[in-house]
């Protein structure tokens, strides 16, 4: 197409349309030996009777620096799927760009078929495993949440950085795996058929605990609620932290 002289550092051919060679993750030539740089914190998600609730804070850290404090980390792909991830946010945004391009192609086809959460989960698992095999991993543990239209049930899955993909009723990424997962698993065991408000409360409690216990986190969060109709992202939720312990209110004389 537009052939023009490129400096020697360019490796793959370039073009500006979305079907270009470089948009195919299998042929991506970037080498990720550097590790994650602009990182996101934890992601938590729980399945309830009629859907899924997913929560993440809005902070992107640059090492220990809280660099970008009002950033979207939860991405809606289509009316049935939403995803979020911890780790390198540049990599996550790259994957979301690819998924959005695929979604646009589906809309252009206009045949009513679009990729559901199961397909996206599977695709991400394959891509991440392939990149791990090449030695150029994408530094993300991705949570995929959605509504499976074929089976009419909520879908919640996790893909680790090395390509391990599985489905579970409660799923977390990052430090939340140690702090939040036990808490949410117990909540799910006690009441597997909880309703939407109970699920939202569980997630908010979990995020509050994470905010207190994880260094690279903040109390400004986003929640995504998926049900059989749509994905609803609630933005700019400020968590209330309980500082009574600091003010000695819990200590009796």
């Amino acid at each position: 197409m537009y052939k023009h002289d490129m400096p020697a550092m360019d490796i793959a051919p370039r073009s500006y349309n979305s079907n270009s060679y470089t948009m195919n993750p299998v042929f991506a030539t970037n080498k990720h030996s550097t590790g994650p740089i602009t990182t996101g914190g934890s992601v938590v998600a729980i399945r309830y009777e009629d859907g899924v609730v997913l929560g993440a804070d809005k902070l992107i850290s640059y090492g220990h620096l809280r660099r970008f404090r009002d950033q979207t980390r939860i991405f809606k792909i289509n009316e049935t799927t939403v995803l979020a991830a911890n780790g390198e946010q540049a990599d996550l945004r790259y994957l979301v760009d690819l998924l959005n391009a695929e979604q646009k192609q589906a809309e252009l086809r206009g045949d009513g078929f679009e990729k559901g959460p199961r397909a996206i989960h599977s695709w991400l698992g394959r891509v991440l495993y392939h990149r791990r095999t090449k030695g150029e991993p994408l530094f993300n543990d991705i949570v995929v949440a959605g509504w499976d239209r074929k089976e009419s049930r909520p879908y919640l899955g996790h893909v680790s950085m090395l390509g391990v993909a599985y489905e579970a009723p409660v799923v977390c990424s990052g430090i939340a795996t140690y702090i939040g997962l036990p808490y949410l698993r117990e909540a799910y065991q006690v009441m597997p058929t909880m309703n939407r408000d109970q699920a939202v409360d569980s997630i908010k409690n979990c995020l509050t605990q994470l905010c207190m216990r994880e260094c690279r986190s903040s109390n400004l969060v986003q929640l995504a609620v998926v049900n059989n109709k749509t994905v609803d992202i609630k933005d700019n939720i400020v968590l209330e932290l309980n500082w009574d312990l600091a003010k000695n209110k819990l200590i009796k004389n």
Binding site: M9, R14, T22, T34, I37, A90, R93, Y94
Partner: protein, 235 residues
């Protein structure tokens, strides 16, 4: 220092000897910007500011009067930090592609497009590049915009963005003094203060303060040198 190198092994021994004497850091480290770059967006335009010092290793000043605010297009400028050579290489490619995009679309390129080209480039070559950019500009479609592209290639739009080694010293100042809705003069003073404070605490930043004020009508380059640089507590 050995005077004869008969093989590569000898050369590596030579380098090791240098490092023991502390000279390796001076002579063999990449030329890098200890830098402060900052950009602020206001109603009608964008103000970009930067220092002008380039250091080599941690000790040697390579250039005292460098231009870190590069012109990508008439109303789009880019502040660079990180490794010098990487910054310059990346800027050449971005300028080239942006210019081409302007020709193909027969209109002034948008700031968002410039930022996207830059971020895609930085992301795809992230293992080989160590450069962080702040792109600020004005276009007729979206007005004034500032985009930050840290190392790693993530792109994000912000009202105020700072980068480079000196930026860590002024996040507190930025958080406390930045208000949305500042006028052009207030923004210029804010940016000058930011760069001055960073320069006074960061040994990698110094020289003069270079400013670019971009709006619909012009991109005005200014320099604050010597006594013109705002002064603060120096103890």
């Amino acid at each position: 220092m050995p005077t004869e190198f008969t093989s590569l092994d000898d050369l590596s021994i030579g380098l090791n000897e240098l490092s023991e004497s502390g000279e390796k850091d001076l002579f063999y480290s990449p030329v890098s910007d200890g830098t402060t770059i900052i950009a602020v967006q206001y109603d009608q335009g964008v103000i970009l500011g930067a220092d002008s010092q380039t250091s080599r290793g941690r000790q040697l000043v390579s250039t005292k009067t460098r231009f870190k605010l590069a012109r990508l297009h008439e109303r789009i400028f880019c502040g660079t930090s990180g490794r010098c050579a990487d910054s310059k290489a990346v800027l050449e490619v971005i300028k080239n592609r942006l210019h081409l995009k302007g020709i193909i679309e027969d209109s002034a390129p948008r700031v968002r497009v410039a930022a996207h080209i830059a971020s895609k480039l930085c992301y795809e070559h992230r293992n080989n590049l160590e450069t962080s950019l702040i792109i600020g500009g004005w276009d007729p479609v979206e007005g004034p915009q500032v985009y930050a592209i840290p190392i790693g290639g993530m792109m994000t739009q912000l009202p105020v963005a700072a980068g480079g080694s000196g930026s860590t010293y002024i996040y507190g100042y930025i958080d406390s003094m930045y208000k949305p809705g500042m006028s052009r003069e207030e923004c210029i003073r804010f940016v000058s203060n930011c760069v001055s404070l960073a320069m006074s605490r960061d040994s990698g930043s110094g020289g003069v303060i270079r400013l670019v004020a971009i709006d619909k009508d012009e991109a005005n380059r200014m320099v604050l040198a010597g006594d013109e640089i705002p002064k603060f507590y120096q103890g």
